[in-house]
């Protein structure tokens, strides 16, 4: 056995004090296998050692929360004895090294997190961020990563048979060497069908099911906890290969096996594979787990215990069955043609004991691995800030041209090139799919539908991580409310740089505190999530990018349109024109696309006002008092108005405003708490707004084929709808194709 030198410890990304803690916990030097096991369990990815002390600040409870953070996924009661399990997870680092498989296995991992709880996955969303597609130097690589990631998500989700119903896709220089791939999944179960990752019952058999173990992905969790360097390319073998067909079989077999009543606990083998599943299940139940690796199905020969314990081969699960009823479980897996083998037993000594052919290779208290990882109070100063506070002088030459530039920009243009590659309809539950303000999926056999959305905004958070994160939560809730759904719970994916840098750690702390404040205020407790740190390449960090996924419920009914459906209807701006100064324009899409700049502060959020606006729109949509509703977000009023015109009917609008604001601010500021409505019963809208004490301005009427915006007597925007729609629809394909040809 090779000696554990300081170099070996460093190669496992453990610090000297961490190694000393291992020695003191064990009361002896670890074996190499044990060192490997500690290194993955104590990696940032698995242990949250830099963020854990701050994550405690998040609200995690409400009367609906059945399971908060700490399990494979959070669980929320939605009534009628039905629960939903949902979570988001990142696969940023693997997707940079190998975009297709990195993204595909990201989908696979989060799906297992859902069905291991006993919930059948019914929806996936993805939040993906890349460098700019049209950059002369990095553009070709960014386009290749985008193509790979999208086809990887499509490959896995489509074959598995889960609809990809929404998400976001953003392009920004800061993600050049570090794309973000965050995948959200949601499943549904009856309350009495929920399973947990607990190895209960001394003497119960520990059973391995699913794919065979190979050498793929060894040290994936540690890789995800380090910055990228030139050598990262050599890490390709660390990326796993996904098999969605096998996962589909695993899903059906697991859900069927759970029906037998013979399963006590179950957990997927995600990051750190056999290691994390064994010690976490033991730790949760306060038991020990003893396994013998000779029984583990293997697809390579000559694997060492170290390799088997650290393998991240996909599509594997660990379960504990009732002693004496194993055969019921084996029968189900046999039916589905899957391996199911007893590899060990639950013990009473609290130890993870790993043997191979009887010889002990590791013997560690489960709690030491799962719960006693180091927790760092990392020092933090003020958040890293590179952008100036002061605004430049802004004077548009042509506002209609500015609008066209925004509509054809990567962030705002239609993403149909992306989502048409996803099967967003399979399972025939998708009432509102990609392109909607929020996705809506019905639950058959009930009158309940689930609404969901993902939101992030690296620009806002680069300017102010705390306020930026609050704005994201407000926006995500608003997306749901606009569809008539009541937001009820949150999952989050915190993507940041290196936490060992105090100015990055400050971004993390401020963002988490902003998340906590907003989630508490909007009553959307956080039931789980993921932290992805070290998102830096060659010392250059990404924008701080928390992504939130919020879910809500509504009664099953045809969804509200986000687009105008008929001419001659009043257009009402719920929430009013909003207020903004030049500083607050700095984080907007206008600053990004038209001025290629970033400055100032994010838009100003009044959470109390926001809540009242959302209550108003929910009431109006539920009562069918509006014909269409569309949230104002990226690109401000002008972009939201244009988007409202891009329905199948091609109905436009004639808008007349009466404001003091400069036209650039009036049209393009991104102040929150605003929703664009068309209605045939204006009085009901005004009455509801009045009751909730929020502004509602009638700003114009819908009309055929044209979109025009005036302020007082000045014409700001005037264009044919078809021309704008054409730009918006085809922009992404043009960005990809034109440049490929050059």
């Amino acid at each position: 056995m090779s000696a554990i030198t300081p170099e070996v410890i460093a190669a496992h990304q453990l610090t000297a004090p961490e190694y000393e803690k291992i020695v003191s916990l064990l009361g002896r030097e670890p074996t190499m296998t044990e060192l490997g096991i500690f290194s993955v369990m104590w990696s940032e990815h698995c242990s949250y050692k830099s963020s854990r002390v701050h994550l405690k600040k998040l609200p995690t409870e409400s009367k609906r929360v059945l399971q908060g953070p700490g399990e494979n996924a959070g669980i929320i009661d939605i009534g009628d004895g039905i629960a939903i399990a949902f979570k988001i997870e990142s696969h940023n680092h693997p997707s940079f090294i190998e975009p297709f498989q990195g993204a595909a296995t990201g989908v696979g991992g989060i799906l297992r997190d859902i069905f291991t709880m006993g919930a059948r996955p019914i929806a996936v969303m993805d939040s993906i961020r890349f460098g700019k597609l049209d950059d002369e130097k990095t553009g070709p690589r960014n386009r290749r990563i985008l193509e790979g990631v999208v086809s990887g998500i499509a490959h896995y989700g489509n074959c598995f048979g889960v609809p990809t119903v929404g998400g976001e896709c953003v392009f920004e220089e800061s993600y050049d060497g570090n794309p973000l791939v965050n995948v959200f999944a949601l499943g549904v179960a009856r309350h009495d069908e929920i399973f947990y990752g607990k190895a209960s019952g001394i003497g119960n058999p520990v059973i391995y099911v699913g794919a065979k173990t190979g050498r793929d992905g060894i040290h994936g969790a540690s890789m995800a906890s380090a910055e990228f360097t030139e050598e990262s390319k050599q890490k390709r073998p660390n990326v796993q290969v996904g098999d969605p067909f096998l996962e589909k079989l695993l899903l059906e077999a697991c859900l069927e096996a759970m029906q037998t009543g013979a399963i006590v606990g179950i957990q997927d083998m995600g990051a750190a594979g056999l290691t994390s599943s064994t010690c976490e299940m033991g730790s949760r139940a306060g038991t020990g787990v003893e396994i013998d690796l000779q029984y583990v199905p293997q697809r390579e020969t000559g694997m060492t215990p170290y390799e088997m314990m650290l393998s991240e081969s996909q599509e594997r699960m660990l379960l504990v069955a009732q002693s004496g009823r194993e055969h019921e479980v084996f029968a189900v897996f046999k039916k589905w043609g899957l391996d199911a083998v007893q590899i060990g037993v639950v013990t009473g000594d609290g130890m993870l004991r790993v043997k191979d052919h009887g010889e002990v290779f590791a013997e560690i208290p489960n709690r030491a691995l799962a719960d006693e990882a180091p927790r760092y109070h990392r020092p933090y100063t003020k958040p890293l800030r590179l952008a100036p506070l002061q605004a430049p002088r802004v004077a548009s030459k042509n506002l209609t041209a500015d609008l066209k530039a925004l509509l054809s920009s990567g962030d705002i243009c239609s993403k149909q090139w992306v989502w048409q590659q996803y099967d967003y309809q399979v399972r025939t539950n998708t009432l509102a799919g990609p392109g909607s303000d929020a996705a809506i999926v019905r639950i058959k056999g009930t009158n309940i539908s689930i609404a969901m959305a993902l939101d992030g905004n690296g620009r806002y958070c680069a300017l102010d991580p705390r306020e930026g994160t609050k704005l994201i939560v407000a926006e995500c809730c608003r997306n749901l409310s606009t569809m008539g759904a009541l937001p009820i719970a949150t999952t989050n994916n915190l993507n940041f740089g290196n936490p060992e840098r105090p100015e990055i750690m400050a971004q993390i702390v401020e963002s988490i505190e902003g998340l906590a404040e907003a989630c508490r205020f909007f009553d959307v407790p956080v039931t789980g999530g993921n932290v992805s740190l070290y998102n830096e390449t060659l010392g250059s960090p990404i924008f701080p990018t928390p992504v939130v996924g919020i879910v809500g419920t509504l009664e099953t009914a045809p969804p509200i349109a986000n687009v105008f459906g008929q001419a001659g209807l009043p257009v009402i701006l719920l929430g009013g024109l909003g207020d903004a100064d030049w500083k607050q324009l700095g984080g907007t899409q206008y600053a990004k696309v038209v001025l290629n700049s970033l400055w100032g502060t994010p838009p100003k959020l009044d959470m109390d006002y926001e809540k009242r606006v959302q209550a108003t729109v929910r009431e109006l949509v539920r009562d069918r008092a509006v014909e269409s509703a569309h949230d104002i977000g990226d690109g401000g009023l002008a972009v939201a108005l244009a988007e409202s015109c891009f329905g199948p009917a091609g109905v436009g609008a004639d808008i007349t405003l009466d404001a003091e604001l400069a036209p650039e601010l009036l049209l393009f500021h991104e102040g929150p708490s605003r929703i664009l409505l068309s209605t045939s019963s204006s009085e009901r809208v005004f009455a509801a707004a009045g009751k909730n004490n929020v502004q509602a301005l009638q700003i114009g009427v819908t009309l055929e084929a044209r979109v025009a915006i005036r302020n007082r007597n000045e014409i700001l925007i005037d264009s044919r709808v078809a021309e704008l729609k054409d730009l918006w629809t085809n922009a992404l394909e043009h960005l990809l194709r034109n440049l490929v040809l050059v």
């Binding site: 074959c159 098999d243 589905w336 149909q416 998708t430 019905r442 099953t556």
Partner: protein, 227 residues
């Protein structure tokens, strides 16, 4: 009427077909496992969409060897109604119950969207309740939906009025815009679009009932009953 829905490992539109038939059209439907050598007492069979056996080789290439396919072949030879949707269409061509083949989409990408189609013949058990030349919109969701066959086969399909659905805006490069075809005896139909995804007003369309209500031989007024 009782419909058997075949479940291969990797089928993922099996439940959707079941729901459309039982909840939207109020007929009986049951699943038939791929290892079953018998279809039981069903009156018609659906081969649903999905990725049978993972489809890592050619789509449907493994499924044709399954025990249930022998039963489906016998059923078809005896005149039983067989509807293959998406992956089911691919399986039917691989199994030799329908001519031609389905290959990778012309643009090499999976595509999911609603497409306009024309019902090219109503002289079939799958379309007899539709209006001649009726235009409908149905969702497609496939990576390998490009229908190909040699010229003689294509000519014969047309001469025998066996092209049952045509794309009006060809999304995948299919020869002669073919979206669905019939067997020579007209009792087996394969189609790439998904009628079961357009059988419920809540999910946006009931155009699929033109085909499903013909297939089940129930009145189209079942639309009104759709839940």
């Amino acid at each position: 009427m009782k419909v058997g829905i075949v479940v291969f490992p990797g089928s993922n539109c099996d439940h959707d077909a079941w729901y459309a038939i039982s909840a939207n059209l109020h007929q009986r439907a049951e699943f038939i496992w791929h290892e079953s050598a018998s279809l039981g007492d069903v009156d018609a069979v659906i081969l649903p969409g999905g990725f049978s056996y993972g489809d890592y080789l050619r789509c449907g290439a493994i499924a044709k060897f399954s025990p249930v396919m022998r039963a489906v072949k016998n059923f078809a030879h005896d005149g039983g109604l067989v509807l293959g949707i998406c992956n089911g269409f691919q399986v039917l061509t691989e199994a030799g119950l329908l001519p031609g083949a389905l290959v990778r989409n012309a643009n090499l990408k999976f595509v999911c969207r609603s497409v306009p189609l024309q019902i090219a013949t109503v002289d079939s058990p799958f379309t007899h309740r539709a209006a001649p030349g009726e235009r409908i919109h149905l969702p497609i969701a496939h990576g390998e939906g490009c229908y190909i066959a040699d010229e003689n086969t294509l000519d014969r399909l047309e001469a025998e009025d066996r092209v049952v659905l045509r794309y009006l805006d060809n999304p995948n490069g299919s020869l002669r815009d073919i979206a669905g075809i019939l067997s020579a005896e007209r009792n087996v139909m394969g189609m790439m679009p998904h009628p079961e995804r357009a059988a419920d007003p809540l999910v946006g369309s009931t155009d699929g009932l033109a085909i499903l209500s013909s297939f089940l031989d129930v009145p189209v007024k079942a639309q009104a009953l759709a839940s």
